[in-house]
Structure formats: structure tokens, C-alpha cells
């Protein structure tokens, strides 16, 4: 079963706008990861944030983690048409090595 729920399920924005996706999870975690999946393609790892970190940046990506609320957000700034993809959060629960995925957000960036 999915560990995480993502919100929104789908998001459509204009190129240049920012996109924010949220992920909520159920149990205490070691790490939270964000992945991108283009239609029909494999998963691309975007960023990993540890449970003792609150914010992390990578290029146009900003990830926050609030362990008290069991939630994370992914912000993509100055979006591009090439950012159109599905985005998934994935968590590994404390005491376990397996990683379980959220439901995903489908992002469409309109040129």
C-alpha cells in the first residue's frame, strides 16, 4: 500500500510559473525522496532529504520537510515545458529499508 498521499493529483500551470506539490505520509521516516517520471519513461531521482533536515535546494527545486506534520513539499521555480511529468514522493520508514511511494502528482507546464 502507498505510504504517502500527494496533493494535488494533477496540476496545470503556465511556463515560468512556480509549481508546488505536497506529500503527506503516515509513519516516522529516515529519508524522503522525490522522483520525476516522464510519460512512459523510468524514474529520475531528484532529491533526498533526511529526517533531520528541514529544507534542501537543488537548482530550481526546493524541498521542505516537516516531520511534526509528516509532510513534505516540492517547489519547482520558473517552470519549463520540459518539467511536464509525474512527480512522486517516496519514504523509507524508520526501522525498514524498503521505500514506498506516494500517489503522485501529474504536472503539466503549458508553453
Amino acid at each position: 500500500s502507498q505510504q504517502g498521499e500527494e496533493d494535488p493529483q494533477a496540476l496545470s500551470i503556465q511556463e515560468g510559473e512556480n509549481a508546488t506539490m505536497n506529500c503527506s505520509y503516515k509513519t516516522s521516516i529516515n529519508n524522503l525522496q522525490w522522483y520525476r517520471q516522464n510519460s512512459g519513461r523510468g524514474l529520475v531521482h531528484l532529491i533526498l532529504i533526511r529526517s533531520n533536515e528541514r529544507e534542501k535546494h537543488s537548482g530550481r527545486l526546493r524541498v521542505t520537510l516537516d516531520t511534526s506534520k509528516k509532510s513534505s513539499s516540492l517547489l519547482i521555480t520558473a517552470s519549463r515545458a520540459a518539467d511536464t511529468a509525474s512527480y512522486f514522493c517516496a519514504t523509507d520508514a524508520k526501522g525498514y529499508q524498503k521505500v514506498t511511494f506516494g500517489t503522485g502528482t501529474k504536472l503539466q507546464v503549458i508553453p
Binding site: Q2, Y35, H45, Q97
Partner: protein, 111 residues
């Protein structure tokens, strides 16, 4: 990092037959995982494959249907047995090296 390859990349099979998917990692990893992704859905963990021990299956997945081998630290196979159209899906191999890396997936269509 880890580079993961899978064979076959896609296949069309008749119901009642079995298909074995191979996964090769370019470096030694302790833990490997098999996921299923049904069309338009997120990833669901099938099982965790550790070298030298039996695979650990998630709820809803059984060894008779999805036997897994893990003969060494760089290789694993997943067999989808006695296939039905409901098994049509993408099957992804994954390996853990702090970050979780994924293979390109095997697209299976069962007629």
C-alpha cells in the same frame, strides 16, 4: 550511484505463461527491490530481495506468483507466473545505495 539495466524492456505474452525479468546493477548492493506500476498509477512494492536469503513479499504478493532469485550482489530476477491480463504492468527493479535507484522498467502486456 548505481546504473541498473533490465531485460527484456518489453514483452507481449499469452495468458497462462510465465516471464522472467532480469535486473543487473553495475555495482554491488545489499538490497534490491521489485516494484509494479500499473498504467497511470504509482509504484507498488512487490518484494525485497536480499542476497543469501528468501525474498520478503509485501501484502498481496506471494512467492508462487512472483518467485524471485538473488544469486549475487549485482543480479536479481523476478518471474511473473501463470500470467493473466491483470498482470499487464510495468515491472521495475530497484537498488538501494542511500538513494534508491531504478531500472528503466519492463513493460508487460498479457493477452
Amino acid at each position: 550511484s548505481a546504473v541498473i539495466s533490465q531485460k527484456p524492456s518489453r514483452d507481449i505474452c499469452q495468458r497462462g505463461t510465465s516471464l522472467t525479468i532480469q535486473c543487473q546493477v553495475d555495482s554491488q548492493v545489499t538490497m534490491m527491490f521489485w516494484y509494479r506500476q500499473q498504467p497511470g498509477q504509482s509504484l507498488t512494492l512487490i518484494a525485497t530481495a536480499n542476497q543469501g536469503s528468501e525474498a520478503t513479499y509485501e501484502s498481496g504478493f506471494v512467492i508462487d506468483k512472483f518467485p524471485i532469485s538473488r544469486p549475487n550482489l549485482t543480479f536479481s530476477t523476478l518471474t511473473v507466473s501463470n500470467m493473466s491480463p491483470e498482470d499487464s504492468s510495468i515491472y521495475l527493479c530497484s537498488a538501494r545505495k542511500e538513494t534508491q535507484y531504478f531500472g528503466p522498467g519492463t513493460r508487460l502486456l498479457v493477452l
